[in-house]
């Protein structure tokens, strides 16, 4: 293990029209680290994570993957992206392909593996997420939780150096959430480097080494899960955490206290 962070973000700015959605975001991510990003809806969490693999172009700042600047003009984004797994809120499985072909597509097109070798990897990765029995099914035949697990397998098959999760359980029914979180927990245990945007506070508290709390596109507080959830240094963080706790107990009624 080297001292160099796997990912380095500095001074990131992102605008949609004249609305700034990510402002001056900087952080580092060590190899093997699990970083959680939390905050109220509309805080720019999803936009931020989409900037980290170049899915969203940015206005200012830099994103580095080890020694390579991802945000540099003329950066080989395709190659960089194949090193970064991405899991979407709404899965985005390729609807016209079977589960097996969803996983093998990039292996064949990007890694130039033979169909035989790609099939082998697909079967292994799908078994890892508990979807080995659905190889020939089409996405529309699967539940949301099953689709999300396939999309995780699709990302893992590329053997990424880190995984980005953009609210992976937000579009799921409560029964499916557990199955997806179980797979993610297993990845944490295997030492995968991950950045997770999520509203599953208990999960983030349990797995994250480091938590970013965002409001209005900016990082308000960064610290250990222990700090953010139990000894927040900022009032805004405290209000947000209290609001969620209150909403969970039913204390605060339907309205979360923070807004």
């Amino acid at each position: 293990m080297s001292d160099q962070p796997l990912m380095r973000v500095s001074g990131l700015h992102k605008r949609f029209g004249d609305k700034t959605v990510v402002r001056d975001v900087s952080f580092t991510l060590a190899r093997g680290e699990v970083k959680g990003i939390i905050g109220p809806s509309g805080a720019g969490k999803s936009t931020l994570i989409r900037c980290l693999n170049g899915l969203e172009p940015i206005e200012a700042g830099q994103v580095w993957l080890e020694d390579t600047e991802l945000t540099a003009r003329g950066a080989d984004l395709d190659t960089l992206r194949s090193r970064i797994g991405f899991v979407f809120q709404d899965f985005n499985l390729f609807t016209h392909l079977t589960v097996r072909r969803n996983v093998t597509l990039a292996l064949i097109k990007v890694k130039k593996l033979s169909r035989h070798d790609a099939d082998h990897i697909a079967e292994r990765e799908l078994a890892r997420v508990g979807m080995a029995d659905k190889l020939e099914a089409y996405p529309a035949e699967l539940s949301g939780g099953q689709q999300q697990r396939v999309s995780i397998a699709r990302a893992l098959a590329m053997e990424p150096e880190l995984m980005l999760f953009d609210e992976p359980t937000s579009a799921l029914d409560p029964q499916s959430v557990g199955s997806v979180l179980r797979v993610m927990r297993q990845l944490v245990a295997e030492g995968m480097t991950m950045i997770i945007v999520s509203h599953e506070m208990a999960f983030i508290e349990a797995v994250a080494d480091d938590v970013l709390f965002m409001v209005d596109g900016a990082i308000v507080e960064e610290g250990s899960a222990q700090q953010i959830f139990h000894q927040p240094q900022q009032d805004a963080t405290a209000r947000f955490i209290d609001g969620i706790a209150a909403a969970l107990i039913g204390d605060g009624g339907d309205e979360p206290a923070s807004r």
């Binding site: 992206r81 390729f94 609807t95 016209h96 099914a137 590329m158």
Partner: protein
């Protein structure tokens, strides 16, 4: 006796129908190739390509079919010896391309943007994402509207009559002039043949649609 006349002339009508089918297939193939290229240019091209494609599309949609036929036949035959069939296939094919480009453009736009994002996120290039993820889904969506366009073009092949392509309509016309009348019966027979061709084409394209359907995926 009218039925005898029709019966005797059936081989000519069949010959005309065969020519109609040949012309329809030729113009649809041209339309498919050029229409896909135009639709892709309009959806993904840099602005000069997008503008060029849109210009061609507007042009061929704005000019009446008969004018196009005359332009391509009499216009081109002034400096190149073009057959009436080739002129008709080109004129109607390019016009169909303009209409088909809008079908493909709409179908491409109907593929959710998340599909492209997911393809790019796994490291596929833009071109790979288009050909392996967006186009297969878009073309499947396009089969319904494309069927309409194909049927419409099948009927419009009768316009090629005006530049002398001996298709179904012109054969019917020959039969009428050779028999001093029976106008209603002969044109009626031609109409029935167009109907049969349309039904056959519809059946074929619906079969293709069913074959290519993705399990569990609701078609809109």
């Amino acid at each position: 006796m009218i039925y005898q006349t029709l019966w005797n002339n059936l081989p000519y009508l069949a010959e005309g129908a065969a020519m109609t089918v040949a012309l329809a297939v030729a113009l649809l193939v041209i339309g498919l190739a050029v229409g896909t290229a135009l639709g892709l240019s309009q959806s993904y091209g840099a602005w000069p390509l997008r503008w060029g494609a849109t210009l061609i599309e507007r042009l061929f949609r704005a000019i009446p079919a008969v004018v196009l036929l005359f332009l391509f036949y009499y216009g081109i035959s002034g400096f190149y010896d073009i057959s009436s069939f080739a002129a008709a296939a080109l004129a109607l094919g390019l016009r169909s391309a303009a209409y088909q480009s809008q079908i493909f453009r709409g179908a491409i736009a109907s593929v959710p943007s998340g599909q492209m994002a997911a393809a790019r996120a796994t490291g596929l290039t833009r071109r790979q994402a288009i050909t392996a993820v967006v186009l297969p889904q878009a073309l499947r969506q396009a089969i319904g509207p494309w069927t309409n366009e194909a049927l419409s073009e099948l009927k419009d092949t009768s316009l090629a009559y005006t530049i002398g392509v001996v298709e179904l309509m012109r054969q019917a016309d020959y039969i009428v002039s050779a028999n001093y009348g029976h106008t209603l019966a002969v044109y009626g027979a031609a109409a029935v043949m167009y109907l049969l061709l349309s039904l056959a084409a519809t059946w074929l394209l619906h079969r293709a649609d069913a074959q290519l359907r993705v399990p569990g995926f609701a078609h809109s």
